[in-house]
Symmetry: D2
């Protein structure tokens, strides 16, 4: 089997929030303006949908299909990449979503480790990933590593070991961990057609130094424009400027963290900054009080205005 | 609304494994002999299906329905209680399973905390539970607390606070934690029609002293007969005898733990002891090597034969 | 070498606070009235000094010697047992304190696992304990297990394995963990001259059912009288009464926990209840605001008055 | 009070191992050749003594004094900086060591958070540090942050808040954590006369990008020469070369980790590589089997020879 030929994901990838109506149902009508906002206001050309930021695990399989389809349809000829997260607790559900992503013309699929039952070894995890990938063998496949959320502390480098033999469509990694040795070991191992996308936005600069090809994260929904300048400065070797922007991002996040920052607040913050109507999160997350998100949005504007 | 009238779950409740074919598909034909085995060989009269032991989270919604239906049908007029676990990462999936459990005549439903997105407070968790319970308001409802698996460390006592106002069908707790202060606080809070079922089999005796009404666990599949004697000894005030049986159970488990004990091993052990064909676990769990389960089964027979 | 013959520690053992002056120096003059208070007001006849409750790790070796000496001197012919905790991060310091405890006529010594550098295996920990015990071979020796504080999660049962060969003076265990399987396995392993003392006060009843010989804890400083009645009820087989008292203790602690309960608050609470002047804790602990301890003391009186 | 004027620590700082005799006593005679080795073979000009690598917490106060004195004496006119770690579980012991470090002419002192009793807030920790610093007010003072070892997860940025008001001699940070947002926030906060030294050797490159002034670590004992080239490449903007060296270091460490890597192995590895006789570690650490360290040393030579 020849490797899947797919464009390599680079640059910034926004992990999109899932628009819900005030009643908590998925709101497909907000997807077109969301894509336009990312392209026009943030300069972000790729998206990662139905992932952690998108509350994928709180959605039904049917809802995830409807959303993925809308993101792909509305992003066609506009976005560079639409990567659909198809990870579920159940392998069978993941396989169904993988097949569906292939049918709707997604640019890639990504899978997080199951976390209720946790794979005991890198081998077990790789077998799980392999079974999902095999359901959509032509889809570029990205493993999604986020140990703080899943509690699965297997080193990514161990998961990558020989993975191209088991998953010919393997294309890269969304690495949302702070262990930059593990990340560096992935960089030094990976062939040139893989993408190593870093996922902890507030320490992106460290990962770029270690060799990241790009970044996936929730803050690029509303800070994409700033972080595009960070990446551009880094590419030109202007570390002081890159640091200045990174520190601004950190200042914004630290302000948010002191107020209490979780996915619900993050989602409401995006609504405040973008003007989109993303709606509430779904239970077990509780809606963010409006003034809290507003306060963070104001601080964001203030800090970015200072630059 | 008047409280749901349901029989109170007491005594031992086996958390059943899910029979799979060698190919990993659900195997409904093994359910009838499974129920007979529990009744005839172990003296266990109630079951908890599609829970952690049953790999519920690795199954699709459709599979869970088929299984729940078969357990209810085959258990009718034989078992005292069939409690169906309907917890999912997605509230909507849980609601669908709750409605289904009501339709098929289950004796109760139980819900674990969602664990990918974790409720931040006891209030948030209670709201999630309420939304599920409201989908099947006539079903006796049990909250399932298992912090070591979910990573949700909210105290059960806090979750119970005022829960009868939000969930009139609330009926009790499956408490699978080692914090006996929290458990004791639940005991002292609970009205007489609730059941407080303890879920860490190897320290049941401590929970009985603290006031447990019964127990739900995986080991009761193959140690139910022994533990029924433990409970009977405890009820008669014969602590030395109860301890002897508890220590035997612990000896068996410690032997298993030294060999490497997880749900896959546990499932294979049940096949060895019972003669049922429960099949492999589903990924991300890997099948247990046959000799390992056999060795544990032999040790089990040896220890119980010593009594 | 013949085993050390020592009286077996049973019943309640108060883990004493260390009296400090308002300036933070050790206050030996408060020790005599402290002992009298325990005997006369709480009916507690044994003590465990310089342990976790006693802020042993925050004291210098010299201070620990002075304190141990005073506790032994003032307790002579009054107390049944004075057990001196001699655990330190440095083996040499522990050995010096062990020798000193023998010189001053302590009834036993106890050692916690070092926790900055953690023993990797039960063997390594047993070797550390052996080296301390060898410095005072005639002192009854108790291993002190408290994984939540030390982060050392080695199972006690594994530490006990063959320990009498390495430590002929071994006499028992202070088990401050919630894993009652591990505790039960210690009970079933231990010869009759060992003491298995349980150390999580709020779930003592569970450990008594599992076979505890007694209990060491900080709350026995001010709740000893109540818990003596709990133990007496348990001994008579009156579980409902034992539970009632256990639940009262839990109510008090839960009230304290909601207000914020740590060692500093605990110490101030003891001053409030007993009238002793125990002074502040030492840094890195901060003194407890007076109203907080007072509020807890009032709740304590109220709950115990309800009985 | 005017700020302490001290040279700013930059570049590589070796966290030294403590030489012990085969019998486990401190071995002062190995210190002179150790310093010469660092200077001549590794190009490392500053040291951090009695810290984690130096098993400081396993030593007595007296031993730590003797060692600190010898390091200062033998390093005089040779080394740029001798920073003495004076952190202890007991504030009084730390104060005594701080005074002693001042007497013997150390270039700075550093304090780790106490970890048996943990400070509950950044304020409590800052007060502890202040009390130590006040005992040696003319000594440049470095806070040592290493949450994976201490279990103290207070953010360094919060500890630094206003610290110059409480500790006029404050001079910087040894940051041994993987949270580069916290590290970045320290960088953006710190005045130019502070040093921000990074302490997780295997991800140094990420921290340099974020603004680290230098690095303190154990691997610089035997990889100092390589990492000096890494830092030089980074300073010249040659990221590919810096990455190559960082990845080599990671390859060595990953090889070691697969064999089982702890402080005992690390110490023996240094003996193998340097030819120094550093002796065994002290209990609770167990000596490393010779072949294991030899195997790692050979892999190290092989990887570095490949460059």
């Amino acid at each position: 089997m020849t490797p899947v030929v797919g464009r390599k994901a680079t640059g910034l990838v926004a992990a999109t929030f899932t628009p819900l109506t005030p009643e908590g149902e998925i709101n497909l009508s907000e997807i077109r303006p969301y894509i336009d906002y990312l392209l026009e206001q943030q300069g972000v050309k790729s998206i990662f949908v139905n992932g952690t930021t998108g509350e994928g695990m709180s959605l039904t399989v049917e809802e995830r299909k409807l959303l993925a389809e809308e993101w792909c349809n509305k992003g066609k000829n506009k976005l560079e990449q639409v990567i659909v997260h198809v990870g579920c607790m159940s392998l069978k559900d993941s396989q169904e979503l993988a097949r569906h992503a292939a049918e709707i013309g997604a640019d890639g699929i990504s899978v997080i480790s199951p976390s209720f039952f946790k794979p005991a070894t890198a081998d077990a995890l790789r077998m799980f990933l392999q079974e999902v990938a095999a359901a959509a063998p032509a889809m570029p496949f990205y493993y999604y590593h986020i140990p703080a959320v899943t509690g699965v502390n297997l080193r990514s480098r161990d998961v990558l070991e020989g993975i191209e033999n088991q998953i010919p469509s393997f294309h890269g990694l969304k690495f949302s961990g702070s262990d930059l040795m593990d990340f560096g070991q992935c960089v030094s191992y990976c062939p040139s057609h893989w993408s190593l996308l870093y996922g902890i936005d507030e320490q992106l600069l460290g990962a770029l130094a270690m060799g990241a090809n790009g970044a996936v994260g929730s803050t690029y929904n509303y800070l994409g424009s700033s972080v595009n300048r960070l990446m551009s400065a880094f590419d030109k070797g202007d570390l002081p400027k890159a640091r200045t922007i990174q520190f601004q991002m950190q200042d914004i996040l630290c302000y948010a963290i002191k107020l209490g920052f979780d996915l619900a607040v993050n989602k409401q913050l995006m609504s405040e900054v973008s003007g989109l109507a993303l709606g509430p999160p779904r239970l077990p997350l509780l809606p963010c009080p409006h003034p809290k998100a507003l306060s963070i949005a104001q601080r964001l504007q203030q800090i970015l205005g200072e630059q």
